[in-house]
Subunit: 299 residues, 2 copies
């Protein structure tokens, strides 16, 4: 059975198919191809016009709109659509994958994906993945083979995943310049709820307040400077992608929203009662922690 | 009386004294001097060691730690300390200012400052100001003569302020590359509560959640990527400066914190009940509005 359940191949000799040539899928395909990390990089895309664009820019060796044809002969298949599309694709592609095929996804939440992967037939080697990088611009047009450089690439293997498949995914992550990091899916989802989904919700809530106030006083828009720009940046993210993320991570997102509301209310209460000493005592450790982060890069 | 209550001078021939050579004061002095917008640029600083630094870098023509000596002969005095220091300085400097002197401040909230300015003797021409720019780095070391380029520079004249004094402040704002914008102080304070003070509170609340979650799971810090970096950036701001701002704008900050809590709770409720249609309908106009902002610069 080992030949059927463990990947018998090296990354360098593998045919890789990326399903979904958006920002993440397109960047991944391009990075694999540019760095010659595998034998062939193939793409599956919903939009026929993306085939020509992907070939022209050198993102893939070959592309198709036919999911079955795209994943059929592949040694490694990477699902790179929004999370709930990935959830629909997992049982669908299973029938076409060849024995020993490694099925990786790069969706932004992992518990639901790994639960769907657990139901796959035993000849497939599933593993969850989440490269922690992105832009507000989406689609193949924004793809960048350097997108993953220096970024954490979370991997969430299942208990059934062969060590060789995990090693292959780690090799791929390292190959594109990312730092692989093995995490349990629930732990991943709770942590990204805090560092990624909550920041998005705060950006959206901030934009909501700006629209309320700016709706009756247009001067607001002229006064929005760099602080507003950075804090509201995530609100420009793709809505379908974010809805997929938030709705597949409801419990952890709810916990973080509640923690944040409580923190905001504590700060507002200290301001309302003009308590300078307690306000500064609350803000100082936050300032110290944030001041020490992201050293070396743009702060 | 006109000679005593209206500025009888042009900006080009004026002696300007900046009180406080931090990021804003130092940048303003340097911009005025570099662009040769006035006759002399003098500085008042608390720290004796800043005098040499300011002179060496060409930020001022002359500097002193003696407030009376620094403001005594000036045609224009600009108060550039944290807001509540400005509030203490306004009655103090009044006794030393010469007749017709224009007293401008560059503090981040305007109602309290303008109220203090209203009590000044009639030989002074007071006007509130707020250049809408900044960095998280503070102090003279971070000063930059290009800091004001393209930024709005809010001016809040009092009813007693002579049109000539307003025109002089507008000329100074334009001279350093900013866009002067006349606003009523209360209106200014409410708008900046939405676009500046609320973003700071959200950054601080986000860091508070990160410290809670990261305190029991260190992997959080490794997962904090560009979205977290930008949304939490303002939490690194100087705590004394922010306390001064928040505590002199309590009512408007309270209003905006409440609006934002409500917006966050609405989003959290839609997520909790898995309402994709309503969630996307709420997020889409926020995305459209934010997507259309800050075009041309870094988004």
């Amino acid at each position: 059975m080992a030949a059927e359940t463990e990947p018998p191949f090296a990354l360098r000799g593998a045919d890789v198919t990326i399903v979904g040539l958006g920002l993440i899928g397109g960047s991944l395909a391009w990075a694999l191809r540019e760095r010659q990390l595998c034998r062939h990089v193939n793409g599956v895309t919903r939009r026929p016009e993306s085939i020509g664009e992907a070939l022209e820019r050198g993102v893939v060796d070959w592309a198709t709109t036919d999911l079955a044809a795209g994943v059929g002969g592949a040694d490694i298949v990477v699902l790179a659509a929004p999370v709930r599309t990935i959830l629909r694709q997992i049982p669908l592609v299973a029938t076409w994958l060849k024995p020993g095929c490694v099925l990786l996804d790069v969706g932004s939440t992992k518990e639901a994906v790994v639960a769907a992967m657990a139901l796959l037939p035993s000849h497939v080697q599933p593993i969850g993945g989440h490269p922690m990088c992105g832009k507000e611009k989406n689609g193949l047009a924004a793809a960048d083979p350097a997108l993953f450089e220096g970024a954490p690439f979370v991997l969430t293997p299942l208990t059934r995943t062969a060590p060789e498949a995990v090693a292959l995914a780690e090799e791929m992550a390292r190959g594109i310049g990312a730092h692989p990091m093995i995490l349990e899916p629930g732990r991943h989802d709770r942590l990204v709820a805090a560092v990624s989904h909550l920041p998005y919700l705060l950006s959206a809530a901030l934009m909501s307040v700006a629209l309320q106030v700016g709706g009756t006083d247009e001067a607001l828009w002229a006064l929005a400077a760099s602080g507003f720009r950075d804090t509201s940046r995530l609100a420009a993210s793709d809505v379908q992608m974010m809805a997929d993320i938030l709705l597949t991570n409801r419990q952890a997102v709810g916990e973080m929203a509640q923690r944040c509301s409580a923190a905001l209310e504590r700060l507002a209460a200290l301001i309302a009662r003009d308590d300078e000493v307690a306000l500064k005592a609350t803000l100082s450790p936050l300032q110290a922690q944030r001041g020490g982060m992201f050293q070396g890069g743009r702060s």
